[in-house]
């Protein structure tokens, strides 16, 4: 018992319920991406124009779904870190649940919720004319954003560990919106803004999520090489991992 990872189905169920009845998470991870897609993708005249291996509506849909997935990951993990630091962590410390089991539970929770966010935007896309040349491109985009989205789970964890609980939740969600704006997620950037965008944390993530559609081509005509996007993701993964390491140290020293 002490060596295997303890995961409780009851805890998974309750954690899922908590997310579903939290108006804040519902609004930011499910409501906002769908609304933004409908606003900037489906309802626009350019939605049906062709873009790479699909249309513009599909491009906007994937961008918003990626944003939703990233926000779901970061908000759940930042919450997980602050809860563990507070009294609830002391309650859990007196059970067979170890850190690995807690992390696994929260990770399953975060990935499921991110998948739900992606499914919601994709359903909206399916209903409003988002199109790709092949069906597999839908699944490829979803798979990439859920896999790479884990990096924002790491980011949320770091923020949650590093800052006190009141600051952490707000900071995690505000910074994600900020990253999305400057990461070429919400609207196509150009010129100096685009040059800067290449170095921001969400740029590589969202460009790779769109890869099955665009294969690197931007709406403004330029093309991003694959290695550059992978480098962006790898570099920010390292930064986030370092943030987690520092956060762990800091939260331990404050205890």
């Amino acid at each position: 018992m002490s060596h295997s990872i303890t995961i409780s189905p009851t805890m998974l169920r309750v954690e899922a319920l908590r997310q579903l009845r939290n108006p804040y998470t519902l609004a930011f991870t499910l409501g906002m991406p769908v609304a933004m897609y409908l606003l900037f993708g489906a309802s626009m005249g350019y939605g049906s124009l062709s873009a790479g291996n699909g249309n513009v509506a599909f491009y906007v849909m994937v961008s918003m779904a990626a944003y939703g997935a990233a926000v779901a990951m970061s908000s759940i993990t930042s919450l997980a870190a602050t809860e563990a630091k507070q009294g609830w962590g002391r309650q859990l410390a007196m059970t067979p649940l170890r850190t690995a089991g807690y992390a696994a539970t929260k990770l399953i929770n975060a990935v499921s919720f991110a998948a739900l966010a992606v499914a919601a935007v994709f359903a909206a896309g399916l209903a409003t004319g988002a199109e790709a040349t092949d069906a597999w491109r839908w699944f490829a985009c979803a798979g990439i954003m859920l896999g790479l989205g884990l990096m924002f789970g790491l980011y949320g964890l770091g923020v949650g560990l590093f800052f006190n609980s009141d600051t952490a939740a707000a900071l995690a969600s505000i910074s994600m919106t900020f990253f999305a704006f400057f990461g070429n997620v919400f609207m196509p950037l150009d010129g100096a803004m685009l040059a800067i965008a290449h170095f921001t944390p969400m740029y590589g993530f969202v460009a790779l999520s769109r890869w099955p559609l665009t294969e690197g081509t931007l709406t403004t005509g330029q093309t991003d090489p694959l290695w550059m996007l992978l480098l962006n993701v790898a570099a920010w993964l390292l930064v986030f991992a370092a943030l987690v390491a520092v956060g762990v140290k800091r939260s331990r020293s404050r205890r």
Partner: protein
Amino acid sequence: MTTATDTRSPAATARMRGTTDASDTVIALDGLRRHYGLGDRAVKAVDGVDLSIRRGEVVALLGPNGAGKTTTLDMLLGLTDPSSGTVTVLGQKAAQAAASGRIAAVLQTGGLLSDLTVRETIEVIASLHGRDALARVPDVLARTDLDALARRRISKCSGGEQQRVKFALALVADPDILVLDEPTAGMDVTARRHFWDVMRADADAGRTIVFATHYLEEAEQFARRTVVMHRGRVVADAPTAQLRAGLGARIVSATLPMAGSSHEAADALVARLAATDGISDVRVDADRLSLRATDSDAAASTLLASGAHDLEIAAPTLETAFTALTED
């Protein structure tokens, strides 16, 4: 209240058998120290505690705020590592015993998630302890009087209700040892009485109980043994009845008769009282006399018979008790 007998678990039955072995030590604290900070600014929260508790004992850990009670209990539960010294719980390391649910606690600082319901909170913790614990949830809800509140969000529960939820979390693992840090804080009188009734049933069923309190009264009524802590050290460790007898001296004060030239009469009275067995600390300030007496009735009667007036008798406060214990 549900009686402990009809819901007795196999673990409880095992505990009953265990009580027959009087030398069965379940908790051993050895040279326990916990310091915070470094150098001159180091705070010695716990400064050398040796304590051994046997199966089935009910022990009160008494002390003012900052005496080191909470830190000691944290180390007992494996939540804080000692700076030096060892903690052995049921032959295991503290954290192992806590993880297996053999020692459980109601923590002062233990937090609950405000957006869970009472039932969800208890079910989550129970599920982590395994199927048996999960099956115990309805019984635990009944014992802690939380049936009616099961669907309520923690955020909507009063401080006393949340305290009961924490109590339920401790009970659900069916621990051999129950640790309670200021367990009745925030409870009203009825809840407090009910709480101690449940605890008494548990103690009778053979559960070992260690609780921290700064209410002398709770230690007196419930613990058979009281350990007094002060500034990180154990300053007294004795059967509660014995300790109370030692601290039992009351403060008697009265205004001396000063009419006319009876100065000598007053001096004689003071001298006589000071020479009486069981009377100490006789002090006269202006015409007001105060003394400490184990038999306060006799002292009062002597004073009144001599014409003293405005008599006051005060029970020893915890403060005076600590002063008495730490002076020498």
